[in-house]
Symmetry: C2
Subunit: 200 residues, 2 copies
DNA sequence: CTTGTATTATGTCAGGCGTATGAAAACAGA
DNA sequence: TCTGTTTTCATACGCCTGACATAATACAAG
C-alpha cells in the first residue's frame, strides 16, 4: 500500500553520510542535524529511519563492521586456496588499518565507538564480544599452524595471538603520522615472517 | 596584594577532577559545569583559571603526559644502573597501559585526546610531535642495544622500533577485557625477550 | 583604615542539541 | 476515485552548552 522505498538501502545511505562526518569532523559532531545535512535529507526524514540517535550510531557501526568483513572476505578470495595462515593474518591486519579512504572511515568509526564503549557497560559487552570472537579466530589459526608445523613449536599460541592483536595499534600510529603506512606494513610483514618458520 | 592562591596547584586540582570525569563518564561529558562540580568549585571560579574549555583540556592533557613521564622516571630509578634496555622498554610500555587506577585515567585521557587530534590539525601536530619524540627515544635505545650486541644484528632497528610502539595497542584490548592485563604483560615480556638475544 | 587587585559567586545570553508533534504529500490497493 | 498507510517535512519544546558580564568578597600593601 505505501510508497516503495528500500528501507535498508536508505539506512545505509545515511550510515555512509555518518561515516563521512565521523571521518572528517569526529564522533561528537555527528549530530542528527549534521548527518541529515550531509546525507541530503531533512531532519524529519532521518528520524523516520532512525527513531533515535543511538539507534543510528549502532546501525552505522554494525554496518562498518560488515564492510570491513566484506573487504577481508574479498581479499581472502584472491589468495591461494587453501591460503597460507600467514597471508590470512596479514590480510586481516592490513584491512583493519586506515590505509585506503574507506578503510580509514571505518577505522575511525571503530576508534570512536570503542572509546564510547569504555564508559557504557552495554556497548562494552557488545564490542567486547565482537573482539573476543576475532581473537578466537586468530587463535584458531595460530593453533592450527602450530599443529601443522608452520610455526616453531616453542611458540606459545596465546601469547602469539595477543601479540598479533596488539599490532592493530598501528592504526593510531598511522593516523597521527607517527609511522608511515609502508613502515607499518613492513613491520607486520616482518613479525609474521618471523612467527612462521622463523628459526627452523 | 591579592589573596595568595597557588595558581598552578589549583589548575592541577581541576585537571585531576577532569581526569575523573573522562575516566568515568567520557570525554564529551567533561563540560565546564561538570568539571566544576567534580572539582568542588563554582563555574565562575573554574573560568577564572581556564578562560576556555579548550585551554582546560590542553592543560589537563599536558599534565597527564607529565604524570606518565614521572611514573616512568620513578620506575627507572628502581632499575639497575645502568639499566638494561630491555627493562627500560618494558617499563615504558607497561606504564602506558591502564593497569593501575592512575595509569588508567591518564590512558583514557590520552585515548580521547588522540581521537580528538585526528580531526584537529593543530592538535594533530602537537600530539604527533610528542609521539615522534617517544619514537625517537625508543629508536635510540634499540640502535644502541644493536651496537652493543644486545640485539641480534639481523634485526632492523626501524622495524623493531615500530613493532614496540604498536604494542601500545594492548591498552585498548585491556580496556575492553579482550586480553587480561597479565596476558598483555606476558606478551610484552616475551616480545622483548625474543628481541634481546633471541637467536644468538 | 583605605585602596586596589586577585579571587569568587551568580546570572544571562544565544545557540545547538535530541526529541516530539502534527500535518502535508506520495502512493498502492479496493 | 477513494482509502489507508507510508513517507516527508516544518516547527516547537525543553534542556544543556560555552561564553560573557557583573557584583560581591578576600586580602596584602600603604
Amino acid at each position: 500500500m505505501p510508497k516503495q522505498v528500500d528501507h535498508r538501502e536508505r539506512r545505509e545511505l545515511i550510515a555512509r553520510a555518518l561515516w563521512r562526518i565521523v571521518d572528517q569532523q569526529g564522533w561528537t559532531r555527528a549530530t542528527m542535524r549534521e548527518v541529515a545535512r550531509e546525507a541530503g535529507v531533512s531532519l524529519g526524514q532521518l528520524q523516520h529511519y532512525f527513531s533515535s540517535r543511538g539507534e543510528m550510531l549502532v546501525f552505522a557501526m554494525e554496518f562498518a563492521s560488515q564492510q570491513t568483513s566484506a573487504r577481508i572476505d574479498r581479499g581472502l578470495a584472491a589468495l591461494d586456496q587453501p591460503p597460507h595462515p600467514r597471508d590470512v593474518l596479514r590480510l586481516v591486519l592490513t584491512e583493519m588499518l586506515p590505509l585506503r579512504p574507506d578503510a580509514r572511515a571505518t577505522s575511525r568509526m571503530n576508534a570512536a565507538y570503542v572509546l564510547e564503549a569504555m564508559h557504557d557497560p552495554t556497548l562494552q559487552r557488545q564490542v567486547g564480544i565482537g573482539l573476543r570472537d576475532g581473537r578466537a579466530m586468530v587463535g584458531r589459526l595460530i593453533r592450527q599452524a602450530l599443529e601443522d608445523g608452520q610455526i616453531p613449536p616453542d611458540r606459545d599460541p596465546d601469547i602469539e595471538t595477543d601479540l598479533i592483536l596488539a599490532l592493530t595499534g598501528f592504526a593510531t600510529l598511522i593516523e597521527l603520522d607517527v609511522v608511515e603506512p609502508q613502515a607499518a606494513l613492513a613491520a607486520i610483514h616482518q613479525h609474521l615472517d618471523r612467527l612462521f618458520r622463523a628459526d627452523a
